[in-house]
């Protein structure tokens, strides 16, 4: 028998030891293993004969190959195939075992013979030869490599390079710049990935006036206009060049007001309800002396843009919601219990640990607050101003959630992408800082975007047929934050994007031609990362789209959205007492004073339910209109852990050949069959197209572009779900987590401790 750990050879062998090779033969071509490089990508360091740990209990399934550090990724190249891996969801920018450097959370090197370990930072020294490398990733993966047979010096160099290059000193050192620079020079159409652009509609980026014009028109916001006062970022550094303001405010006014707002952030229009009420977001007013006057001016302007001169309510998000630090702390705790704590030991206290992480509590708080804003817009027909100190964090979450609940357009794939572009990217959410891409300031790091995606997932979990996209889409979108080539997640604001890409081009002498700057691809260009076939996993077979057919009482109907039915107005609203909404400031219409009416709490207690509760109750008692208003079920018993996202890399939590995906699979087959039938019906050109079939709907796919990933005809309607489906699908925990297999090292205890994520400094000072 062979030992689990290969014996240390007495002489330096450059072939993998035979005793571990019972299942596979040594690769004669091992020296020819090469990293697949993207344009602008260069190899920094590499080491051969590295073992990637796969199995939890033994090294039997481990893979042999070459570990490479480039300026973009940690790459492990091997000729071996991953065991039990019958399915591969491939990212075009990354190999099967690759981890982008931007995805690296922490690099730990270990020498088990000496009992030493060290968390590596940038530009650090390593006084021992590592026998193993553990990479903790931001997407919850934990990858482990062993160097028993590798050249000790090369191994050390690769580890140091990984640590160094995953902490770039400057924004322009992020790989995206080299990549986009090289692609810019390359003749167009000759892209290395062969990114075949889908002919589908493009996601508006809201960097042009026409995108805003279209949105104004779509929502019927006739009393609002696009202003270009910030062209060239001359007024506010963090606002986009174009945004929407009340018609009654002239450019001159805006310029004058801007000075009083934090970071000169003039209030931004987000969305209009068809009843005329508007959703607006705004930063705080810096000068207390101007506060009242300015508040009132803004308020009047918003009122004047309401066709019925409806009330304006202000919601102070900083007072009502957890701070970004709270969210980050919750996330760290949740990550800890999901992937760091030993699986069995944490079972007993799982629920209370979940609770004490407070993640779900925060998810609920954001959903609840957004639902109350929805009530004000829909139930009270009042305009709402979301106010936050800088208007760049909490507002992004709340404004997008409100719009998703109220407007079915944002539940379509294109609509959702435009929403993220509008309320996050253009509104200046600091993706660079919140992702901590430069690993400079941990205090700025906060997974607000993930929190938002989780909130969307909760809605999707409760109303699965209301969304065009799937949870796989949300997960992949979140993972894309760690692939640092997309304009979407690289910058803190539009200005930073423009300036840095211009400067970089200048410094590298890249001819820009007519463009103002290098164009980073938005993440929405999904063919950058995935084939059209794989992108089909984004499409939900359940979706009841606006053009799509649905069945009621056996009769096929086609949804035609009219202005009225996408957001039914509430009938018989009870008369409202003032100020019942607790934390929200209340502006009486056209009053000369900004009053904050205190809620009468004694009255509140006596009333069986508040008007907003009654509003929610009424809504819940009716069958949901998936093309109308959507409110979340807020009882804590109905909010769930987003398992696909948080548990996909945990082998013990994987339900093999089970999970929701198996039902999804069956649904997809049916949806695909229906698509095929629709196509066949359409081919009867002679006869008139069937009236109830949405044959002419613009969204229907071309024969060669079928929406569903699982197709009905290949192979002919299989009786059971394919073997490779699991609760982690399309991801696989195989080979991604070797938490339990720290054999032969004194590390197992150490790794199960909390500190490894929490404080790099204390740990680093402890050893060496």
């Amino acid at each position: 028998m062979f030992s689990v750990k290969p014996l240390k050879p007495t002489f330096k062998s450059y072939l993998p030891p035979l005793q571990t090779e019972l299942t596979k033969t040594p690769q004669p071509t091992i020296n020819k293993l090469e990293a697949k490089l993207l344009p602008g990508e260069i190899v920094v360091n590499e080491v051969n004969f590295v073992r990637k740990c796969i199995g939890a209990e033994s090294s039997r399934d481990d893979l042999w190959g070459k570990l490479i550090c480039t300026n973009f990724k940690i790459s492990f190249v091997t000729h071996d195939a991953l065991p039990q891996q019958k399915f591969q969801y491939a990212n075009r920018l990354l190999g099967e075992h690759d981890v982008p450097l931007a995805c690296v959370e922490q690099v730990v090197t270990v020498n088990d013979a000496k009992g030493k370990q060290k968390v590596l930072g940038s530009n650090q020294k390593l006084k021992f030869n590592p026998t193993e490398l553990i990479v903790y990733c931001k997407d919850f993966r934990i990858v482990r490599f062993r160097f028993d047979e590798a050249g000790p010096e090369s191994a050390k160099k690769v580890c140091l390079a990984i640590a160094h290059y995953s902490q770039p000193a400057d924004l322009q050192l992020l790989f995206g710049f080299e990549y986009v620079g090289k692609r810019h020079c390359a003749p167009s159409g000759d892209q290395v990935n062969g990114a075949d652009r889908a002919g589908g509609p493009q996601t508006p980026l809201f960097d042009r006036t026409c995108d805003w014009d279209r949105e104004i028109k779509r929502t019927g916001a006739s009393e609002w206009r696009v202003c270009s006062v910030n062209e060239g970022f001359s007024v506010s550094p963090s606002l986009p060049e174009y945004f929407v303001v009340p018609v009654s405010l002239a450019d001159q006014d805006l310029k004058q007001y801007s000075g009083f707002f934090t970071a000169q952030r003039i209030p931004l229009w987000c969305w209009n309800h068809h009843n005329g009420s508007a959703l607006v977001r705004m930063a705080s007013i810096r000068d207390p002396a101007q506060q009242r006057k300015l508040d009132q001016r803004i308020c009047n302007a918003v009122t004047r843009s309401h066709p019925k001169r409806g009330d304006v309510l202000k919601s102070d998000l900083d007072k009502s919601l957890p701070s970004i630090q709270d969210v980050q702390a919750a996330f760290v705790r949740l990550r800890h219990i999901c992937v760091i704590e030993p699986f069995e030991e944490s079972e007993e206290k799982w629920l209370s640990s979940m609770e004490s992480s407070r993640w779900l509590e925060y998810v609920r708080a954001f959903l609840k607050h957004s639902a109350e804003v929805v009530y004000m817009l829909e139930g009270k027909q009042a305009s709402v101003i979301l106010q936050e100190e800088e208007d760049r964090d909490l507002s992004c979450v709340v404004s997008s959630l409100v719009q998703i609940m109220l407007d079915p357009h944002f539940r379509s794939l294109q609509g959702f992408q435009s929403l993220v572009q509008k309320e996050w990217v253009m509104a200046g959410h600091r993706f660079l800082d919140r992702c901590n891409h430069l690993k400079r300031n941990d205090k700025e790091e906060a997974p607000l975007f993930l929190l938002f995606l989780d909130c969307v997932w909760q809605l999707m979990n409760q109303y699965p047929a209301a969304f065009e996209f799937t949870e796989t889409y949300l997960t992949v979108l979140s993972d894309s934050m760690w692939v640092p080539v997309f304009s979407t997640f690289l910058f803190n604001c539009a200005r930073q994007h423009t300036e840095h890409s211009r400067d970089f081009a200048r410094s590298k002498n890249i001819p820009l031609g007519r463009d103002k700057a290098l164009r980073f691809p938005p993440v929405w260009d999904w063919s950058q990362q995935f084939t059209l076939k794989d992108q089909a996993l984004f499409n939900s077979p359940l979706y009841v789209g606006k053009g799509g057919p649905c069945v009621q009482n056996g009769a096929v109907k086609s949804f035609k959205r009219t202005k009225k039915n996408y957001s039914s107005t509430l009938r018989g609203m009870p008369s409202l007492r003032n100020g019942l909404l607790g934390e929200h400031d209340y502006f009486p219409r056209r009053s000369s004073l900004v009053l904050r009416l205190r809620p009468d709490f004694s009255q509140l207690r006596e009333a069986a339910e508040s008007p907003s509760e009654r509003f929610f109750g009424d809504w819940l008692s009716r069958p949901p209109d998936l093309q109308g208003l959507l409110l979340p079920q807020l009882l804590p018993s109905h909010l769930k852990l987003w398992r696909l996202y948080f548990l996909r890399w945990v082998p013990e939590a994987q339900i093999s050949r089970g999970g929701p995906i198996t039902a999804f699979h069956k649904l997809s087959l049916l949806a695909d069959e229906i698509e095929t039938l629709q196509r066949q019906l359409r081919q009867y050109k002679g006869g008139a197209p069937p009236s109830s079939a949405p044959a002419s709907a613009p969204g229907t796919p071309q024969p060669e572009q079928r929406r569903m990933y699982f197709k009905a005809d290949t192979p002919r309607d299989p009786p059971s779900p394919p073997d490779y489906l699991s609760s982690s699908f399309p991801f696989s925990p195989v080979g991604n987590l070797c938490r339990r297999s720290i054999l032969g090292t004194p590390l197992s205890k150490f790794l199960s401790g909390a500190k490894i994520w929490l404080s790099t400094e204390t740990l680093a000072s402890e050893t060496l």
């Binding site: 079972e347 819940l620 949901p624 049916l670």
Partner: protein, 576 residues
């Protein structure tokens, strides 16, 4: 309009009384209305609110009726009745304080809710309901054993218990090792608690490993041994020709098994059973489970505990118990899959043992995951093998505090639900079946769950005098079908028994809360059925076009074979 006309009456159901009173709804406050009592149900309809509040509670679900407040109690609506139900809700009615207004209704309610305590028949014996299907024919032990390939050269069928002489809580037909004589069986019965000897529940069609069930051995304080019992277990072990050890799963925690020695019970000692390994599964007893569910009710009814939901849920330990039961069943299934026979017991072998054997069989045998097979499983492992439904549920019995009450069967159904959540395509039946089964576990409308064992059921002529629950279900099968079901013949289902995946069954335990959207079926299920209807409609249209259009435009290779235009949503297997 007379609200009386709206009271739904079953054949055989009769009105007893009605009364104007106030329903103290925990969600919307005091609601005036009228209550109707029949020999089957309590029905309430409000008169002053729109939409009307209605309650429809089978009296079988009533656990306890109490008077609340006295004639001199102060405060509005402080005088009335408090009704505790077995199905996770409480009802409170207020009446006028003058003139002993509640006396009559209290007495009637008490009498009709607890007929057995008043020498009256359960409603199941009064029901005149007729169904197309006869549920009593669902389960025939001989047929089921034949399906399993029994008898064979190692296992035989014995009628030794024909008149319940060997064991009065076992069924009449038993499968035992071929090598064991009737005399052996009698000797073994003497050494097993209540004569519940090890008998076969299920045999693996390929490796011939078996699940056998029994009660604890009567070891006692002195550590008695019984050669016949030892030899009998060894015959079971070797029946499938392996040399491996026999695994005895004792469902109890180790300490409980030891404690049972004091009352004459115990477990199989290492010395005595040398070819066996004993594994304790740490599942707690009926009292622990009862208290756990009680705690769960406290945090979900009437209001869901909001501020510390997850830690409150944890402190009920309900999901932890579910986890242990499932984990135990997984171990049983795993042993069987690898070719080792197992013996499962607890103390008496009618609570935890039934949970373990039936769940393991559900994992191992896809037949039990069909609508019909599941009925067979419940009839076989629970009803025929003497799970004490009468004692555990207390049908028609006023002794609500009886220590024999316990939600063991509810827990089993919860485990099944957890499995259906993890494998949405593996079960032919839907959540609705599970909820319906639990509703009628209490309702006393059907004879299925009445009485403790077959011998008592025979005495009371349940099969001839009452209707089976399966008659209701099998006459309307479409309503209980899971549209996502995909037939798989040989797959063993291993659920993940981890807190990461176990969920509270909110659609059952929190279904009375009006703040939760009540839906007949899950939105995903509903959408699937809509899509099925749409598909059928398109198929029909295409067929019409193909008929009217003599010149074929399409290559027929991609065209589906024409499906019958009469297909309905509920048809699962369409020729496609």
């Amino acid at each position: 309009m007379d609200p009386l006309a709206e009271v739904p009456l079953l054949p055989g159901e009769e009105r007893v009384t009605d009364k104007d009173l106030i329903y103290m709804c925990p969600f919307s406050g005091a609601v005036k209305g009228k209550v109707f009592i029949t020999n089957y149900r309590l029905f309430f309809k409000s008169t002053d609110v729109d939409p009307a509040v209605t309650l429809d509670v089978p009296l079988g679900a009533v656990s306890r009726v109490e008077k609340m407040g006295g004639a001199t109690s102060r405060g509005e609506n402080s005088y009335g009745l408090d009704i505790t139900c077995k199905d996770m809700r409480n009802l409170r009615f207020a009446l006028k304080q003058e003139g002993h207004s509640r006396r009559d209704i209290f007495e009637i309610l008490f009498r009709y809710a607890f007929p057995l305590s008043h020498a009256m028949p359960l409603f199941a014996f009064l029901s005149q309901e007729k169904f197309e299907e006869n549920g009593w024919s669902v389960y025939s032990p001989m047929q089921e054993f034949r399906r399993q390939g029994l008898p064979n050269d190692k296992w035989r069928i014995t009628f030794l218990n024909q008149s319940y002489e060997l064991c009065d809580t076992y069924p009449t037909v038993l499968v035992v090792p071929y090598k064991a004589t009737e005399e052996d069986l009698r000797k073994v019965a003497a050494f097993r608690s209540r004569g519940r000897i090890p008998v076969l529940s299920w045999i693996h069609p390929e490796n011939q490993a078996v699940i056998a069930r029994c009660s604890q051995p009567l070891v006692g304080m002195s550590g008695k041994r019984n050669r016949d019992d030892e030899r009998y277990l060894d015959i079971i072990r070797e029946a499938n020709g392996t040399t491996n050890k026999l695994t005895i799963f004792d469902a109890r925690p180790n300490v409980n098994a030891v404690a049972n020695k004091a009352t004459g019970g115990g477990y199989e000692g290492e010395d005595a059973y040398q070819n066996a390994e004993l594994v304790f599964l740490d599942i707690h007893n009926i009292h622990v489970m009862r208290e756990s569910l009680k705690k769960l009710k406290d945090i979900v009814y009437p209001n869901v505990e909001e501020s510390h939901w997850l830690s409150s849920l944890e402190s009920t330990h309900w999901l932890e118990h579910i986890k242990l039961v499932l984990a135990g069943a997984i171990q049983v299934a795993d042993k069987i899959s690898s070719g080792n026979s197992v013996v499962v017991h607890c103390s008496d072998g009618w609570d935890r043992t039934a949970q373990l054997t039936s769940l393991a069989m559900l994992m191992l045998d896809s037949y039990y995951r069909t609508l019909k097979g599941f009925q067979v499983l419940v009839e076989k492992e629970w009803i025929s093998f003497g799970h004490k439904f009468a004692s555990r549920i207390g049908h028609g019995d006023k002794n609500h505090a009886d220590a024999d009450r316990s939600p063991i069967f509810v827990q089993f159904i919860d485990c099944v639900w957890q499995m259906t959540k993890q494998f949405p395509t593996a079960f032919e039946f839907s959540e609705r079946l599970l909820v319906t089964v639990l509703d009628h576990l209490y309702s006393c409308r059907f004879g299925t769950f009445l009485y403790n064992c077959e011998s008592v059921r025979d005495t009371n002529e349940v099969r001839t005098k009452t209707v089976s629950l399966w008659s209701l279900i099998n006459s309307d099968q479409a309503s209980y079908i899971n549209p996502f079901y995909a037939t798989e013949s040989t797959r063993v289902l291993y659920p993940v028994a981890s807190m990461r995946h176990l969920e509270l069954w909110v659609t059952y335990y929190i279904r009375w809360n009006p703040r939760i959207r009540q839906q007949q079926q899950s939105p995903v299920e509903q959408r699937y059925k809509e899509l099925l209807a749409l598909r059928d409609q398109y198929l029909k249209k295409l067929e019409e076009l193909q008929l009217s259009d003599s010149a074929p435009h399409l290559p027929n290779s991609t065209a589906p074979s024409p499906a019958s235009p009469t297909q309905r949503v509920t048809h699962l297997h369409t020729p496609f």
